[in-house]
C-alpha cells in the first residue's frame, strides 16, 4: 500500500511529466518547424527514446540482451515501403504503421520462441545479432519484392511538413515509455524482473519464464517495427544497408547504458543526451567525432556504469549523512 509520501511523489512526477509533454507538444508552435533544426533533432531523439525503451524492456527488465533491434526496425520499414509502393497503404497511414509493428512482433514471436527457449546470455545476443544480417541479405536478394540492394523509393512529393512526423515520433516515445511503465508496474513486470534476477527461482514459484520472455521480446519488436515504419516515411528510400544497420541497435543500447539500464527514465535521458552530444560533436568535429563519441561512451561506462539516473542515488548511498 502506498504511503502519503509516495502518493505525493507520484503526483509530483505525473505533474512534471505532463508539463514536459505539454512543452514538447508546444515546440512546433513556438519554433518554425520548417527552419528550426531543434524540431528535427527532437524528432530523432523521440525515435531513439522509443528504440531505447524497446531494448530496455527486453534487456534491462527481462535480462535478455538482444542485439536484434535493427532487424525489427528494418522489417517495419520494409512493410511500409512494400505496402505503400503497391498502393496497399497510404502516406503516414496509422494502419500501415500498426501492420509494420505487428509484422515485427510476429517475427519476434517466431524467432523468440526457439532462441529464448534454447539460448542464454551471450549466445542469445549472438543469435539475435544474426537475425538482422539474415534479413539484410533476404532484402538484398528479394528481387522485385524488395527492389534488391537498391531498395524501394517512395513518393517524396507527399512530404509537406515535418510537423506530423514530430508528433508521431513523440507519440511513439510516449507509447514506448507508457508500455514499459505499464508492464513493469503490473504482475508481468514482477515476472520479468524475477526472471532477470534468478530464472531458476522464478520457474520454481510457477512463472512461465518462456512466455514472459517472448512477450517482452515481441513487445520490444513491435515498438522497434513502429520506429522503422516512421523512419521509412521520413526518408522515402528504404534500402538494406541503412535500415538493417547495426547502429539502430547499438545506439539505443548505448543510450540505455548511459541513462540507466532497467529504469524507466534512463533510456529517455540517455537518448536525449546522446542525440544532442553526437550532434554537437558532428558539427564541431566533423572528421573526428567518432573519437569524441567513443571517448564519451568509455568515460560513461567507467565512471557511471549504472547510468545517469542512478548517479545521485549512488552518491546518497555512499554519503549516509546526505541521506
Amino acid at each position: 500500500m502506498k504511503t502519503m509520501g509516495q502518493n505525493s511523489k507520484s503526483k509530483r512526477r505525473l505533474a512534471l511529466t505532463v508539463v514536459v509533454v505539454a512543452l514538447l507538444t508546444a515546440v512546433p508552435g513556438v519554433l518554425d518547424p520548417e527552419t528550426s533544426y531543434v524540431v528535427f533533432l527532437l524528432f530523432s531523439a523521440f525515435i531513439y527514446v522509443a528504440l531505447a525503451q524497446a531494448w530496455n524492456l527486453v534487456s534491462g527488465y527481462t535480462g535478455q540482451v538482444s542485439l536484434g533491434n535493427h532487424a525489427f526496425f528494418g522489417l517495419g520499414a520494409y512493410v511500409i515501403a512494400i505496402g505503400w509502393s503497391r498502393g496497399l497503404i497510404g502516406y503516414l497511414d496509422p494502419l500501415g504503421m500498426l501492420l509494420a509493428g505487428c509484422a515485427a512482433a510476429i517475427l519476434g514471436i517466431l524467432v523468440g520462441i526457439p532462441l529464448l527457449s534454447k539460448l542464454r546470455g551471450d549466445y542469445f545476443a549472438l543469435g539475435t545479432l544474426g537475425l538482422g544480417e539474415i534479413l539484410r541479405l533476404v532484402t538484398i536478394q528479394g528481387r522485385a519484392l524488395t527492389a534488391g540492394p537498391t531498395g524501394i523509393f517512395l513518393p517524396s512529393s507527399s512530404f509537406t511538413t515535418i510537423v506530423p512526423y514530430y508528433f508521431m515520433a513523440l507519440f511513439l516515445a510516449l507509447l514506448a515509455t507508457g508500455v514499459t511503465y505499464y508492464m513493469v508496474k503490473s504482475n508481468t513486470g514482477l515476472a520479468l524482473v524475477a526472471t532477470r534476477d534468478d530464472e531458476a527461482a522464478a520457474a520454481a514459484i510457477g512463472i512461465n519464464i518462456l512466455k514472459f520472455k517472448v512477450l517482452a521480446f515481441a513487445v520490444g519488436a513491435f515498438l522497434a517495427g513502429l520506429c522503422g515504419a516512421l523512419q521509412a516515411y521520413y526518408v522515402f528510400h528504404v534500402e538494406p544497408q541503412g535500415f538493417f544497420s547495426l547502429s539502430w541497435t547499438i545506439y539505443p543500447v548505448l543510450m540505455c547504458v548511459l541513462g540507466g539500464v532497467g529504469t524507466l527514465t534512463g533510456p529517455v535521458v540517455g537518448a536525449v543526451f546522446l542525440t544532442a552530444a553526437f550532434e554537437v560533436a558532428k558539427y564541431y568535429l566533423p572528421e573526428i567525432h567518432p573519437i569524441f563519441s567513443g571517448l564519451l561512451i568509455i568515460l560513461v561506462i567507467m565512471f557511471l556504469p549504472n547510468g545517469l539516473v542512478r548517479l545521485r542515488r549512488g552518491r546518497i548511498v555512499r554519503n549516509p549523512k546526505a541521506a
Partner: protein, 408 residues
C-alpha cells in the same frame, strides 16, 4: 531536502541541455546581409567510403579556395562577387545519417546549395532530402537510371553512362592483337547495389562487342576467402576477367589468385583497383591490372595537370577521381554566375541550359532531364603508376598483357 535527479525532472533537464546545445550552434546570416554563398555537402568522412569522401572533400575545398582567390562568384542580384563558404558534414557512410546531415546543413547552416554525396546509396536519399527542403543539389557518382526514375526537380546528376562504362573493357580488348587476347572471360561483380545493376549491363556490352562470358558469379562483399571461386576459374581455363569489387576485396582476390596460381592475361578491375592503397597492398603483384577511373590528370583539359600535381604534392599519391569533383564545383559556380541569383530553382535551370566550357573534365552539357555524362576512363598499373589506356585521346598508353606470375 536532497533533490534527486530522477524521473521527469532529469528528462526536463536533458531537454534544456539539448536546447542549450542547439543554441550554441551557429546561426545563419540573414538573407538581406548576404555576403557569402554557403554551399554544403554531406560526405562519408568516416566509415567504409571514407577514402572516397576524403578525396571528394579535398577537391571541393580546392575548388572553393580557387574561386575565392579570384574574388568569388559574381552574382548579378547583389551586383558583387560573393566568396564561397563550404561546409562539409560527415555521414559516417550511412544513408540515415546523411539525411540527418542534410537537415542540419539546410536548417542550421542555411546552405544555398548542396554538393554531391558519394555513391548511389548515399546520393539518392540525400537527393530526396534536398527535394523535401527545396534546395538545389548538384549531384554526381549516382548511376543515372535510378536517379532518372525519380524525376527529381531539385537536383541534377553528372555521371558516366552505364553502357559506355561497361563497354570500356571490350574496347580496350579490341586494341590487343587477336592472338594475344584472352580466350575465356569471367564476370565477377560484387553482390552490392552497383554490382547488381552493372552486372547485366556488362553482359549486354560484351555481346555487342562479340565477347561472351564463360563464367559469371557474384563476389561476396568483405569475404576473406575467394579461393573456391578462383579454383573454379582455373578449372574452366579462364584467362581474362572483369572484377567489380571494393578495394579490400580486390586485394584479397589478387593475392589468392597468385597463391592458387591463376594467371589472368587481362584483369580489368572496377571500383577497387585504382587506389594507391591497392598498389601499396600488392606491390609488384598489382602490375598489369587495370582500373576504372572518373578522371585523369593526363586529360588535355585546362588545369587538369595542375590539380593532379597539387593533389600529389599534398598526399604523395595520384587520384583518378578528384577532377570529377573539382569539375562539379566549376559547373555549379559557372551556373550561379549565369543565373545571377542564389535562387536554387533558377540555378538549376542555368545548369540545364549552360554549356560549361573548359572544366578539368572538358566541356560539359546537361540534358533537359537533369543528367550529364562523361566517359569512364581506364588505367593500367605499369611500373607502379596508373597509366591511362582509355579513352584513346592524347596521352593514352597502350595496354599490356600480363605475363605468367613467375615471369613478372
Amino acid at each position: 531536502m536532497m533533490m534527486t535527479l530522477r524521473g521527469p525532472r532529469l528528462m526536463g533537464l536533458s531537454l534544456v541541455f539539448v536546447a542549450a546545445m542547439m543554441l550554441g550552434l551557429p546561426t545563419a546570416v540573414p538573407a538581406a546581409d548576404k555576403n557569402e554563398i554557403v554551399i554544403g555537402a554531406t560526405l562519408p568522412l568516416t566509415g567504409m567510403l571514407s577514402m572516397m569522401g576524403a578525396e571528394q572533400k579535398w577537391a571541393y575545398e580546392q575548388a572553393a579556395a580557387d574561386i575565392n582567390a579570384e574574388g568569388g562568384i559574381y552574382v548579378k542580384e547583389y551586383d558583387k562577387k560573393l566568396p564561397v563558404k563550404l561546409i562539409v558534414a560527415d555521414n559516417e557512410t550511412d544513408a540515415g545519417k546523411a539525411v540527418a546531415a542534410i537537415e542540419r546543413l539546410v536548417k542550421v547552416d542555411k546552405v544555398d546549395f548542396l554538393l554531391s554525396d558519394s555513391t548511389l546509396p548515399l546520393v539518392m536519399p540525400t537527393a530526396v532530402a534536398a527535394e523535401k527542403w527545396k534546395v538545389y543539389y548538384h549531384a554526381t557518382i549516382c548511376l543515372l537510371p535510378p536517379w532518372q526514375e525519380q524525376k527529381f526537380k531539385w537536383s541534377t546528376d553528372y555521371f558516366f553512362d552505364g553502357a559506355q562504362a561497361t563497354a570500356v573493357p571490350f574496347e580496350v580488348l579490341d586494341t590487343i592483337p587477336e592472338a594475344d587476347r584472352p580466350k575465356k572471360l569471367a564476370l565477377l561483380a560484387e553482390d552490392s547495389t552497383d554490382g547488381r545493376i552493372l552486372g547485366p549491363i556488362f553482359k549486354e556490352a560484351g555481346k555487342q562487342y562479340g565477347y561472351e562470358f564463360d563464367y559469371e558469379e557474384p563476389v561476396a562483399v568483405g569475404s576473406k576467402d575467394y579461393s573456391s571461386q578462383i579454383l573454379k576459374l582455373k578449372s574452366k581455363g579462364i584467362d581474362g576477367a572483369i572484377l567489380f569489387a571494393g578495394s579490400g576485396d580486390c586485394v584479397t582476390f589478387v593475392r589468392q589468385m597468385k597463391e592458387v596460381g591463376l594467371n589472368l592475361k587481362y584483369l580489368h578491375g572496377y571500383k577497387g583497383t585504382w587506389g594507391t592503397e591497392f598498389w601499396n597492398a600488392l606491390g609488384q603483384d598489382a602490375e598489369y591490372i587495370l582500373a576504372d577511373g572518373f578522371w585523369s590528370e593526363t586529360y588535355p583539359y585546362p588545369r587538369a595537370e595542375e590539380i593532379g600535381e597539387r593533389y600529389y604534392q599534398n598526399f604523395n599519391k595520384r587520384s583518378v577521381s578528384i577532377g570529377l569533383f573539382y569539375a562539379l564545383c566549376q559547373t555549379l559556380f559557372q551556373a550561379i554566375e549565369a543565373a545571377g541569383t542564389l535562387d536554387g530553382a533558377k540555378v538549376r535551370e542555368a545548369v540545364l541550359t549552360t554549356e560549361f566550357k573548359g572544366t578539368v573534365m572538358g566541356d560539359i552539357k546537361y540534358n533537359p532531364d537533369g543528367t550529364a555524362v562523361f566517359p569512364l576512363a581506364a588505367f593500367q598499373w605499369q611500373e607502379g603508376l596508373l597509366r591511362r589506356v582509355y579513352p584513346f585521346v592524347e596521352g593514352a598508353s597502350p595496354v599490356l598483357i600480363a605475363p605468367p606470375w613467375d615471369k613478372r
